[in-house]
Symmetry: C2
Subunit: 443 residues, 2 copies
């Protein structure tokens, strides 16, 4: 495992620091609770998959300003010396309640709640929104693909067009977390232990005098790890060439893993290619497909009876192209022992420290969620937010990424299929507890 | 200046490494030229702004596999020991031609061309597509806002919802490069020396007993750097409160910089707030606006006669929401002294090493571009691609970011306004030289 670089406390909007300076100067140190949640914003997202908590906890546990950070802040000419001295000492000392990664949740439900002296809690805002918002958005998009693929393996191919470097690494992790089987991203393989896979590019074929020669050369290098890209010149001729080389490999006791389609009518081509491979006795050679796949295109080719064994999923999932941001917010819900409510139209927030209770039927199928008060108990509802940090200390080791994926799969199988629709908005029932509703009247 | 972490050679798709292994095993070492360009893909993008070259050159100049990288590759079980030993020694030794950052360019024109032994050139593909594609996309989106704002300052407010950490930093840089005046992003301020600015959040107001008290407390801390957020309860009442505090500040010899609108009808509210401020004699207090701005919303409120002095531009620009990826590709155009052409329908590439020649009128206004051969000369066309790296060595110091912004502004003012339309697709004329056309027939 490689150490992942921390974002550091300067990964923030300036106003978080100026507000902190003003709280400091005005002696405002009381504890505040902030709630991180996604507002309802797009009909096409019926559910979300929690992701990003591991990075959040690592960052909070190591939160501190370096001498270099403080030097930079000093150069902005905005901050008093006593405040900068205060920042030197500042550590995160708060309490964190969170949905474990891989948990299915819904709009308006808190993903994370943080209670800490107001300066500490406020300074984290930008980092939390960025980290949890992006990773949750990608995991949720990936889960939609996982559903559409109906059991066919999915591989993340998005690295070349993600929005920057960190996005590339986090997309590999967030898609794996939500059911993908691997990634083409070598650095993510190294950092997170995600299985890596890949095929070949058109340029490889072009570097040889013929496609046949290129396939043969590649098979020489990777007698048991080869997937041939067959659409450089003509997909069906490419399939014939692949079959010819695969038969030679078979005679040598080797096995071609598969071929990859990268353009054209995927459903029709996949059937023709399957026939070419089967006619050559190559029933075990698999057909991979790439080229603009997302949940919509996967669902379409699956419904057309495509003979595709696995999908390489790239750009459109790596940037969540149909919904490239979530309306995630971080709102103060309690300050100095007083519950805080915001009433702006369309942007109202619910006062109070909360818990999400999930009711299930006897088979474990989810029935409805109740957002209640943190200190409520509900006989027939399982509380979803767990205390994961106390006084700035992480309370348990991070689960392995594979375990997070298993949590996701278990959660996802408990969610009724109608809420997984990729086309229709069908709202899972989320209600407010009586006590939470009453608290709003008095806040 | 802080050191920016390198992506490293494992920031790549696995197939770049497996192809390299196969080239190595088959003794394929001849030089190749790859061309990086954006395919026409969206009617809403009439032009692009080149960005990302600085990072590309730093990465290429320091390209090397660490022992840890090679250990990881060894664990994948795919690579022979002699190939891994070869990677230990591998450095980038090639030639790089590129459009300087800040250059306006168009679809199909090469942004970067790389000539190197095929293994070196191939291994860079994923990194180059990711780096140049993302930063160019954001700079191009920012330039559209710069045009729509018609001289009003723009500040990047996107950090909380960019796609990950690296994106946040690069958005600050790419928007500044394309005419923005600052960013809320403190880390980008530290790394790139971009001016930082900010206001306050609604939670700050909520932490005090009244809005008036909150404004006064903030002004105490920042007597000359305050911008009050006035929409927490009611924008017009907020403007009255801001005016009251601003008058007290004035009496103390201090100056409120401005107020910020963050919700509601921006054009109407800005006029009413302007009147409140003017009636209080606060003509110098500026009105800032944020909340969902992109080039479309900026153009709309400007056309409605909004009295807004500066825009905080966030999420929609930070993720390029209407077009969250570009169809950028990296194609082999020459290999082993042979020009290479790809003919797949809709994905054809032009063979040969190229240059872009720009023709201007006497006032410097751009007339048309000619894509020609690198070794052509054109009397009335200025070549845009510059040789920036020779034998793996950077040929000149990076220009300061401010100088890149000046290049952008000069380029942009030379582009006729009709090509800057944010609504209509009006194609700037890009032609192929006769010699480039002839070369296609023989490739």
């Amino acid at each position: 495992m490689t150490t992942v670089h921390r974002a550091g406390p300067l990964f923030t909007d300036l106003y978080e620091l100026t507000m902190a300076a003003s709280y400091y100067a005005n002696r405002v140190f009381a504890p505040a609770t902030f709630s991180l949640y996604i507002r309802p914003y797009r009909a096409e997202r019926n559910f979300f998959v929690a992701a990003g908590l591991e990075q959040v906890l690592d960052e909070l546990a190591s939160f501190r300003f370096s001498a270099q950070d403080l030097n930079y802040l000093q150069t902005t000419g905005r901050f008093a010396a006593d405040f900068l001295a205060y920042l030197t000492q500042l550590r995160f000392s708060g309490q964190v309640y969170a949905l474990p990664e891989g948990t299915i949740f819904f709009a308006d439900e808190p993903v994370i709640e943080i209670t800490a002296p107001i300066i500490e809690a406020q300074l984290l805002e930008t980092f939390l929104l960025n980290t949890v918002g992006f990773q949750t958005m990608i995991a949720s998009k990936a889960a939609r693909c996982f559903h559409a693929a109906a059991g066919r393996p999915l591989i993340d191919f998005s690295l070349r067009r993600t929005q920057g470097r960190d996005a590339g690494i986090k997309v590999a992790r967030s898609t794996f977390l939500a059911g993908f089987e691997g990634t083409s991203n070598v650095l993510a393989g190294k950092i997170y232990g995600i299985p890596v896979s890949g095929t070949m590019a058109h340029s490889y074929i072009s570097a040889f005098d013929s496609e046949l020669e290129a396939f043969a050369a590649y098979a020489d290098t990777f007698p048991n790890h080869s997937i041939f890209l067959i659409d450089t010149y003509n997909t069906l001729a490419g399939a014939q060439n692949a079959a010819a080389v695969a038969k030679e490999m078979k005679q040598r006791g080797q096995a071609l893993i598969g071929v990859r389609l990268d353009s054209g009518d995927m459903a029709g081509l996949s059937r023709k290619v399957r026939k070419i491979l089967d006619d050559a006795g190559l029933h075990a050679v698999k057909i991979f497909a790439s080229s603009g796949f997302d949940e919509f295109k996967i669902a379409k080719v699956v419904s057309q009876g495509a003979r595709i064994d696995a999908f390489g999923v790239g750009t459109k999932v790596g940037v969540s192209a149909d919904a490239p941001y979530v309306d995630i917010v971080y709102k103060m819900v309690r300050f100095n022992k007083r519950n805080v409510r915001k009433l702006s139209p369309g942007k109202s927030t619910l006062a109070g420290e909360k818990q999400v209770f999930r009711k299930s039927d006897r088979e474990g199928r989810y029935l409805e969620d109740i957002i209640g008060l943190r200190n409520e108990s509900m006989q027939d509802g399982r509380p979803l937010l767990e205390k994961v940090m106390a006084d700035g200390k992480i309370l348990r080791a991070h689960p392995a990424l594979q375990a997070v994926q298993e949590r996701f799969k278990k959660n996802f199988s408990s969610l009724d299929d109608r809420y997984k629709s990729i086309e229709d908005h069908i709202a899972y029932p989320v209600k407010l507890s009586r006590r939470l509703q009453e608290l709003q009247k008095t806040s």
